[in-house]
Every structure is written in C-alpha cells, then in structure tokens.
C-alpha cells in the first residue's frame, strides 16, 4: 500500500462568509489508498455550511492515479454548487502534465506557489 498523507490547515479569510482551507498532500495517491483518503475530503466538503475554498498543496504529491482525478472533478463540482472552489498549488511537472492533458487545469486554476494560490482565493 502506497503512503499518502493529507493534512488540513485553516487559512484566515478576509471574507467571514468564505471558509478557506489548505490541504497538503504528501506521497502517492493510488488504487490502494485513494478511496479511503477521498473520504476525508468529502467530509470537509459536507461539513461546510457556506462557500468553501480548498487550496491543494501538491508539492509533496508524487503520483496520482486516474481515480483520484475523477474524485478531483467531483470535489470541484460539489464545491462549485456551494459557490466554493478548488485551486492547486505547487504541483510537480508530471502531475501538472497529466492534469493539463486531462483538461482539469481549464476548470481548476493551478499556481506555482502557495502565496499565489492564497492570493487568488482570499480576495
């Protein structure tokens, strides 16, 4: 089973109606762990009362499989329905390459640094 850890951090927002959280991904998201780990993200989304923005810090993510891309689009749809969203930050070139070919980057903005991602969300 591949190792993956997702740690969540609250990000202070200038808009009190808008919750912002950062999720740090470290390791590999593959068939052995993706279903289990996705539950944590779903719990965050379901618990949100109002608009929720998630910043995915992908600096430590080495690999993501097709299922995790499917989950990513689903999380994005669910958050968009609540007027929230997802942004990506610090994705490695291979991960970004996959996301670009799949077309996810047309839906979800990707930023080179955490600061840029935060700035895009907290405004």
């Amino acid at each position: 089973m591949a190792d993956i850890s997702i740690t969540t951090e609250d990000i202070p927002s200038t808009n009190p109606a808008k919750a912002v959280k950062m999720l740090h991904f470290t390791g590999q998201l593959d068939e052995s762990n993706v279903d289990e780990k996705s539950k944590e993200v779903y719990q965050l989304i379901e618990a949100a009362q109002g608009p929720l923005y998630l910043i995915f810090d992908l600096a430590g993510l080495e690999y993501m499989n097709s299922k995790s891309i499917g989950y990513l689009t689903d999380w994005y749809t669910k958050l968009s329905e609540k007027q929230g969203g997802i942004v990506l930050a610090q994705a490695r070139p291979n991960i970004l390459d996959i996301l670009q070919v799949v077309g996810i980057t047309q839906l979800i903005q990707s930023y080179a640094t955490i600061e840029e991602a935060k700035a895009a969300v907290i405004q």
Binding site: M64, S66, I69, G70, I98, Q100, V101, G103
Partner: protein
C-alpha cells in the same frame, strides 16, 4: 459456337451486379484495382465447394448431405443441418481468400473498413461464380423458360449476391479486428476488460495474448457469418423468402454501419510511429481515466482528452481508438435518444410563457383563423420549428385555441421524427477521413 452463347450470356448477366456493387464499394480516391483483384481472387473460393461436390459424387459414402437426408426425418432439421455444412464450407472458402490476400498484400488492409470491404469483394467473387452456374443451368434446361431466368437473375443479383457480400463483410470486419488485435487488446485492457480467458489460453498455447485475440476474433466473425449463411439458405429451402430477405437486410444495415464508423475508418498501420512527449507512467494515468470515463458514458470529455493527448502522442492507436469509439457511441446515443422521443408518449405541450411585461390582448376569432391558416401552410412546407414558435405565441394570447394546440402537437411529432431521421442518417454518414490510407 451456339453452345458458348449460354455461357457468355450467363457471365454477362452475372457481371451486372458485380459492376454495380464494385462501384458502390469503391470510395472516391480509392484504388479500384485492389477491389477488382480481390474480387477476381474471390471467384476461386467456389473451387473447394465444387471439389467437395465432386468428391461426394465419387465417394457417396462420404456425402454428408445424403447422410443428413437419410438419418434426419424432420424437414426443418434437414434444411438446417445441410445448410450449416454449406455455410461452413463456403464461408471458409471466402475467408481463406481474404487471408491469402492479406498475407500477400498486408498494405491493402490498414483499416477495419478496408478489411470489411475487401471481404465483401471476395464474397462478390463467390456470388459471381455461383451465379454463372445458376444462370447457365436455367438457360440450358428445357424445362425452364425466360421468366424463370429473369426471376432467378433478379433474386440472385439482389438478395443472394447481397447475402454473400453481407456474410463475408461480417467475417471481414472481425478479421480486421483480429489483424489489429495488438492495439484493440490494449484498448480493451484500458476499458477494464479482464481478458482472463485470453491470458489463460495464451499461457496454455504459449502464444501472445494479442495472437490469441486475433484467432478468437477471426473465429467469431466466421462463426457469425456461417450461422447467418446457414439460416439464410435454410429459409430459402423451407420456402420462407421473407425471412431470408430479412436476414440479408438486417445484415446489410449492420455491415453498412460498421463500414461507416469512425473506428472502422481508423488507420492502424503506421510504419513509423512518432514517440510520445509524455512520460509513459503519466500517459497510463490518462489512458486509465479514458477507460473509466468511457464506461461512465462521459463521451464528450473523452473526445476532448483524446484530442489533447494526441497532440502529445500523435500516433497512439489506442488513443485514436478511444476517440473513434466515443464518437461512434455519441452518435448511437443521439440516435437512440431521438428514436426514444418519437415513441415516448408526448406530454401535453404547455405553451411557453409570453416574454412580455404586460399580457397581449386576445386575438379575435377572425385574426386567429388567419394565423392558423398560415401555420397550416408552414406545416405543409415542413417548417415545423416556425409552426411551434407561432403556436406558442398564439396560445400565449389565446390559451384555449384548440387549432393552435392541434398544430403544435402535430408539428412537435413531426419534428421528433425529423430529428430521429437525422440522427439515424448521421450513423451512416461519411466522416471526414483523415486516417484513410493514401494511395492504397
């Protein structure tokens, strides 16, 4: 000299459907000679059945037809069993011709559609040779007249010749699937098909999985062709011409559809494949996703991803297959939805709300009559969309206008039929074919 006249006339008669069908099969820009060569080679496929007939006459104890006739009582079983033998022999004969042609000229078959069309030509060759034999037999037989010859000519030229073409076309398509089994097996793998049986046979026989798939597909196509052939012949023997025509008709629609599909026109054989600019492991993730979303029916997304992936890996046949398969399924889905809407019980059409801040005044009966007359004219001209628009506007003004409601419902039904017809025609439309082999 006179004894040659029936032979020459029979050959000329048998050539008429050949010329027509060869013209139908050949598409613009295609080299006609490969079809003619395969057709001529296909005429040889009558040799094995004739040799068998000769052997059965020489050694009656081997005559399987006599054995069936003497050992089976019920006519229906006699017809079925006899014609299974006929189907097996004749389809194998035609299949061998296609295999030999492909062995000698592998460049001929680079698409599934081409495999199908060349096999049709082999079937046409068989039908041609068989037709000569039938026409000649009737011509020289004093018990038959001109009427019999004309009837036989019409029936054999249309139905029987089409039958041979359809049966061969079906095994030809599967022959193509077998020929390109390396890519097609890979495509199946990414779609989540387990291929457990293939792997088991592969281990058992020591052959590569795609080689097992190749033989399996060949056998599958032959099996379907033989079965259809046997049913067709048996129906004729049992004097059920309508059923026989039905088999050929349904088969022809299927073969024509297969010929026109995007997957069918996909060019498989690229001598030198360009490399991918994406890392293999990353590309695998995308392929896996394509398989997942294909299964979920997210066809538009699949096609978009394929376009982007093909920019990075332009000669990847598996990606091309995903795209073609999605395009074909999209068309089928549209046709199914359009057909379903024709047969679905239409709900009572509600007029669209008038897009006005203040309600418009009701039309007088006389004015309504004029509008209804114009709508009637538009309906006759087939302008159903305009009829719908006017009916909606009229009903917003006169909600109880029964004339408007009737025309609205009729136009709605006609529009549904038009949509279904358009969607069905799209299934058989020629796609732009950037993948067609050039000069072959």
């Amino acid at each position: 000299m006179n004894e040659f006249i029936p032979i020459i006339a029979s050959v000329i008669l048998a050539l008429i459907p050949v010329v027509i069908w060869l013209n139908v099969i050949q598409e613009k820009g295609e080299d006609r000679s490969i079809y003619i060569k395969t057709f001529l080679f296909g005429t040889l496929s009558v040799v094995p059945p004739f040799i068998l007939i000769f052997l059965f006459e020489r050694y009656p104890e081997l005559n399987i037809y006599s054995i069936i006739n003497t050992s089976v009582e019920q006519l229906i079983y006699v017809a079925l069993l006899t014609n299974i033998v006929v189907g097996v022999i004749e389809e194998i004969g035609k299949n061998v011709i296609v295999r030999i042609t492909d062995k000698r000229h592998p460049e001929y078959i680079q698409t599934l559609s081409r495999a199908l069309k060349l096999s049709i030509c082999a079937g046409l060759g068989f039908a041609f040779a068989e037709n000569i034999f039938y026409f000649y037999s009737i011509w020289v037989n004093p018990y038959y007249g001109t009427g019999d010859l004309v009837t036989t000519f019409i029936f054999r030229s249309i139905v029987t010749t089409c039958g041979h073409m359809v049966f061969s076309g079906i095994f030809g398509y599967y022959f193509g699937v077998g020929k390109f089994s390396a890519d097609i097996t890979e495509f199946a793998k990414w779609q989540g098909q387990s291929l457990g049986f293939v792997r088991w046979i592969s281990r058992l026989t020591g052959r590569l999985p795609f080689q097992v798939v190749r033989e399996f597909q060949n056998f599958k196509g032959l099996f379907i062709a033989m079965g259809m052939h046997a049913l067709f012949n048996a129906s004729l023997d049992l004097n059920n011409k309508l059923f026989a025509i039905g088999i050929v008709g349904a088969g022809a629609v299927y073969v024509f559809y297969l010929m026109k599909t995007r997957s069918g026109r996909l060019l498989f054989s690229v001598i030198k494949r360009r490399g991918s600019s994406m890392a293999a492991r990353d590309e695998d993730v995308v392929l896996e996703l394509l398989g997942m979303w294909t299964k979920e029916g997210r066809l538009a997304e699949v096609m978009q991803i394929c376009d982007r992936l093909l920019e990075r890996d332009p000669d990847n046949n598996v990606v091309k297959l995903f795209k073609a398969h999605a395009a074909d399924n999209q068309k089928l889905k549209e046709a199914y939805t359009a057909l379903k809407s024709v047969f679905a019980k239409s709900k009572q059409q509600q007029p669209e709300p008038a897009n006005q801040a203040t309600p418009s005044p009701t039309l007088s009966l006389e004015d309504e009559k004029i509008v209804l007359e114009s709508m009637g004219m538009l309906y006759k001209e087939g302008e159903y969309k305009k009829v719908l628009e006017i009916a909606n506007r009229l009903m917003a003004r006169n909600p109880n206008s029964s004339g408007a409601r009737v025309l609205l419902e009729k136009a709605l039904d006609k529009q549904k039929i038009d949509n279904a017809f358009n969607s069905l025609s799209k299934l058989f439309e020629d796609d732009p074919k950037p993948d067609s082999p050039v000069g072959v």
